[in-house]
Symmetry: C2
Subunit: 430 residues, 2 copies
């Protein structure tokens, strides 16, 4: 917040800056990592658990290269103990010499750790369930045993000179005392990161903020977070985790993963670029996001959702006149499209389209022209070239000196007029 | 949080209850409306601004009836001043006699207000831009003028005996002092609700919580919120607004609206049912969500996104063994599908599938059978019927007294075996 005792600063603030809860007001605190986070990209681990994912070696390598080219910090791979092919693929990707660090995900067992280390990865992500539900149903081990096993695995991985992360599973349904006790123990033996996972997708943003903030005060290592999207909060939870001091966010391309998936890479970029454009734009090649999503969508045989962040067909489409946007499509190699030919069209959209057509009129004239287009759109859906025709004809009439051109046409007459314009070859496709 | 001085209570808590930031621990406060919110459904207003939306009268009526049948509290319609047809459609929907209250959205003008009131609506939603950006680009009016006009419109609508809401536009980039001053003024003249709108989709969850919490302390009327999803926070922001004391949430079916849309009705249901199932399940007919989404998706010619909340094809699909779920598909008239035939298959999934096939084995036997299925899945993607064949044959071998059935087959032999099973007609499609 602006310092209230410093009047000279306060008075120089623009009005929008007086919203302490608002956007872009420069308020931040020392905890927040919103402008210095790292991405652990898990399309080749979490994403491989997506219902439709069957990546062969070649496809895995193609995806790994594309992720590296985009600029992700880490690429996480399926546990090499899951199958012999998973192990071979892990080795192959480690040998590509990518800039991104290669991680693999393992259960908290020495057997898994030995196999993982031997693949040549840069780091190992260890995971274990800690919620009472998990302890009961999944492996039945108590906290002291978990702690002992975790320390053994961590010490072994560290001794091999590579990174190690220790994560609990279903963290948001785990006992807080148990969680902090385990995280604190692994922090003391030198783990590189602890991981918090909302495995079932139940966490809400303020829960995430509070839990990560407490954890930030307990451990000195990095904090990684992993959010499922069952309840629609995966992007928001990642953001709040960063605000509370988390350092790493797990993503997958289009969010693919178990059930409806995790924090999507593109969606996280949309969130972060809206708030901290400098960091995101300087670090990640945002104009590669479309190709990356197309590659993965094709591999798992899905369509890009109509409303996908940034790349969905309507992400930058506007029907009403004013183009409210917090994200600049150009940053992502995309273009803006104002869909103006409808009964909701505002005169701003018509002005904007006229200007694209190199037609300059007065505001009063744009408004009159808009009335005509709206009358026609009320009768039937009109295409962009219909509206273009009206704009062009209206302008020609102005040029020829008419006072109130077209204003006395009925809707039918306007439709006839459009048809005539088409015959004259005056239609321009957008 | 549990009362620390009450040891008898504290000691009776289950371990999971000791996470004060966790799920389902009964922590709540007096501000929160997460278990008593209302829905203002805007598919026929915000949704009509979606790029592909061209609803005729018949389709609008069909959608309005379906929304009413689902149980939404309010249905919001396009400004009757937008076009003559919009006005006629508004009148027609008002005459349907739905349980849901009918609202229409208008600009803050007396002309709009008179036309809206004459349509027979139950309430009018007034909107005006207040951010400095809006004031400069959209209508150039200052705050005192906005206040004066708003009060005139509100007094008029109230005098007609119907509800009135006053909303600012682009609230999160507006000056806080201006915002509170306007909201306070309209509250004093008896507005039913004030509205906060994240028109550009930039707000983050903790900003929303803080702004709504302050507003909750300033006005005594209801608080409606409207969130765009450009940065992926529309559902999370709605949840945080309710936590801070908001009373009404704007939604649209599949989130359709300007750009990539607003808080989706189905996604909000997923969020709320995960946390407060009793309220949501008693009030809304959740098993109608799929039909409602199909109706709207067809009308605007889009596909349901693969990862859509609840109804997307993978929402309840699991590849790994354990079915982590916070949402019960049955509540929504959906079924669970464990996609088990992959190299990531756990023996829990195989056990679950075997039980569906009425085959009972020991855990050791399920695990052995799983090894075989995984070996085959490593070579080529296997379909659900391939796995079924292996399970059935394995079980038959057990019945016939073999010690370690199938365990000595190579992957090639297993593939041949599956082919043979198919010839024998032993394949069962899922």
């Amino acid at each position: 917040m602006p310092n209230a005792s410093d009047n000279s600063t306060a008075s120089s603030l623009s009005p929008a800056s007086r919203n302490p809860y608002g956007h872009g007001n420069g308020v931040s605190d020392f905890l927040s990592n919103v402008s210095r986070f790292k991405i652990i990209e898990s399309t080749l681990r979490e994403g491989e658990q997506f219902a439709n994912a069957f990546f062969d070696t070649e496809k895995k390598i193609e995806i790994a290269r594309a992720l590296d080219n985009f600029g992700v910090d880490y690429i996480e791979l399926t546990n090499p103990c899951a199958s012999e092919q998973s192990r071979l693929d892990c080795e192959a990707i480690c040998k590509l010499g990518l800039k991104a660090k290669i991680l693999t995900h393992i259960r908290c067992h020495m057997d898994d750790a030995r196999i993982a280390v031997a693949t040549g990865v840069d780091g190992v992500d260890v995971m274990i369930g800690t919620s009472s539900l998990m302890r009961q149903h999944s492996h039945g081990k108590d906290i002291e045993y978990i702690k002992k096993t975790a320390i053994e695995v961590i010490n072994f991985v560290k001794s091999q000179g590579i990174e190690v992360r220790f994560s609990t599973e279903d963290s948001f349904r785990s006992d807080l005392v148990d969680l902090l006790s385990i995280y604190s123990a692994v922090d003391e033996v030198g783990v590189d990161r602890v991981g918090v996972a909302d495995t079932i997708g139940c966490a809400s943003p303020r829960q995430v903020y509070e839990l990560i903030r407490v954890l930030r005060g307990v451990v000195s290592c990095d904090i990684e977070t992993h959010f499922h999207d069952d309840a629609g909060c995966a992007i928001a939870n990642a953001y709040c985790a960063l605000e509370a001091g988390a350092t790493h966010i797990d993503t997958s391309v289009l969010g693919i993963g178990e059930r409806n998936g995790i924090t999507p890479l593109g969606g996280l970029m949309a969130r972060m670029v809206a708030t901290h454009p400098e960091y995101v734009k300087s670090k990640y090649r945002l104009n590669k996001i479309k190709d990356l999503e197309d590659l993965v969508a094709e591999a798992v045989e899905i369509n890009i959702p109509f409303n996908n962040y940034i790349t969905g067909f309507c992400a930058f489409t506007h029907k009403a006149g004013t183009t409210y946007e917090i994200i600049n499509p150009v940053d992502f190699g995309m273009t803006r499209y104002v869909h103006f030919a409808s009964r909701l069209t505002g005169w701003n959209a018509i002005r904007s389209r006229a200007q694209q057509l190199n037609i300059k009129m007065t505001d009063k004239q744009y408004k009159e022209c808009t009335v005509k287009i709206k009358a026609l759109a009320d009768i039937r859906p009109i295409a962009i070239d219909d509206a273009d025709s009206i704009i062009r004809a209206y302008y020609r009439n102005i040029q020829s000196g008419e006072d109130s051109p077209l204003m006395d046409l009925t809707a039918d007459e306007a439709a006839q007029f459009v048809a005539k314009e088409k015959e004259l070859g005056n239609v321009v496709s957008a």
